[in-house]
Amino acid sequence: MTATVVSERRETATARTLRFSVPDIRPAVAGQRIDIRLSGDDGYTAQRSYSLSSAAGADPIEITVERFKDGEVSPYLVDDITVGDMLEVRGPIGGWLVWRPEEGARPVQLIAGGSGVAPLMSMLRTREAAGSTTPFRLLYGVTDPDRVYYSDELAHLAEHGVTVDIRYSRRVPEGSALTPRRIGREDLEALTVPASEQPWVFVCGPTGFVEAVSDALLAMGYDEQRIRTERFGPTS
């Protein structure tokens, strides 16, 4: 399918959000991803997968791309592609790390590490678009305040019924009483929907983050069948 870039927004110094119009695409479920294929003018192609951050069924669709040093595709998507450019997409793909408003009142705990917030943002936007009252809570781990995606929108959501906690592993915002550290069991105990409420838990981020968080959740008594994860190393 052909996708056309319809808008772009700088998210952080190393990340950009792109919106695509894809007339033929089937409506996505929150949490799904697409494959993007770039073609050079000599026929060389390169393909990568990106999680959608837009709400379920949204048009245009949206992704946020983090630039990886020495990456092949990500520098092009973050720095070069412009509004009006076209590329090929396939999808939406994936049916596991997904949330649908029809699932009802069971609370949802989102736990993001770095750029892993993207598919979880799709769930937050889907909840909002559907007018759902399902309790949602987001725990978002980043290295420092300059690396936060969707900061204005998260601040808005925090004033409209979603509990949003952002924690920093290297540097906290100026004036903050927080200590820079990785999210550990103490944070999980203080800042997540308790296991006794049997929430869905969606964990997305780098491998080490997801391993540490999901091991801790199991030790805290969360139901393994309701923990859904997506791990990614650098997609260059």
């Binding site: 390169a46 393909q47 592609i81 450019d85 049916g95």
Partner: protein, 197 residues
């Protein structure tokens, strides 16, 4: 349909003929799993084979090791488009597990600790194409990569190489496993780009 990305150069000079279409070379070893990592001790590990007539055989960890592991040097290909070259594994060929088994099954469902499943045709499974692997690059296979033992079927996309594998069920008809029932291909040949159904 020709859509070009003006100015996109990519890494065409590094293009390796061993790289299937749509794949790129990854030097790390990314982890993709749908849920928490399973932590299984080899003392508790048990592997079961069930035929299409319901007969079953089991192996303990020591039984499996006693079957005679071999070294496998291979490339691996993940459906999310990374490939990793020159990986070395130790594992037991599934041919050894099937040696004394009377079967006419055309398909097999691999099952894992944690409930993961994946289906494969026997034509892609026997004859030195699949192993129960427990060592990666000279060290015991880490839990996040499927240790203590995972299936290794390197000529198919890597979701077929089930982590934490503990069972094989022989089937007369093909049935969809975990990812296959969520839209992924029943076969999964990277050279044919059989990613999705």
């Amino acid at each position: 349909m020709a859509i070009f990305s003006p100015g996109f150069r990519g890494r065409r000079h590094e293009r390796n003929p061993d790289l299937p279409p749509g794949q790129y070379e990854e030097h790390g070893f990314p982890v993709l799993t749908a849920g928490p990592t399973q932590r299984v001790r080899t003392d508790d590990w048990k592997f079961t084979l069930t035929t299409e007539t319901g007969e079953s055989k089991s192996w303990s960890w020591d039984d499996m090791m006693a079957l005679g592991p071999e070294t496998i040097d291979t490339n691996i290909h993940c459906v999310t488009s990374w490939s990793k070259f020159g990986t070395t594994w130790r594992g037991v060929s599934v041919d050894k597990l099937l040696a004394d088994v009377d079967t006419k099954a055309g398909y097999v469902m691999a099952g894992s600790y944690g409930g993961y499943t994946t289906n494969l045709p026997m034509a892609d499974f026997t004859g030195g194409q699949a192993w129960v692997a427990f060592e990666f690059d000279g060290a015991p296979l880490a839990a996040e990569h499927g240790g203590p033992a995972r299936l290794l079927v390197p000529h198919l996309y890597f979701w077929k190489s089930a982590k934490w594998v503990n069972s094989l069920t022989l089937m007369t008809h093909d049935q969809a496993g975990f990812w296959e029932s969520l839209g992924y291909n029943m076969h999964g040949d990277p050279w044919l780009e059989e990613r999705y159904s």
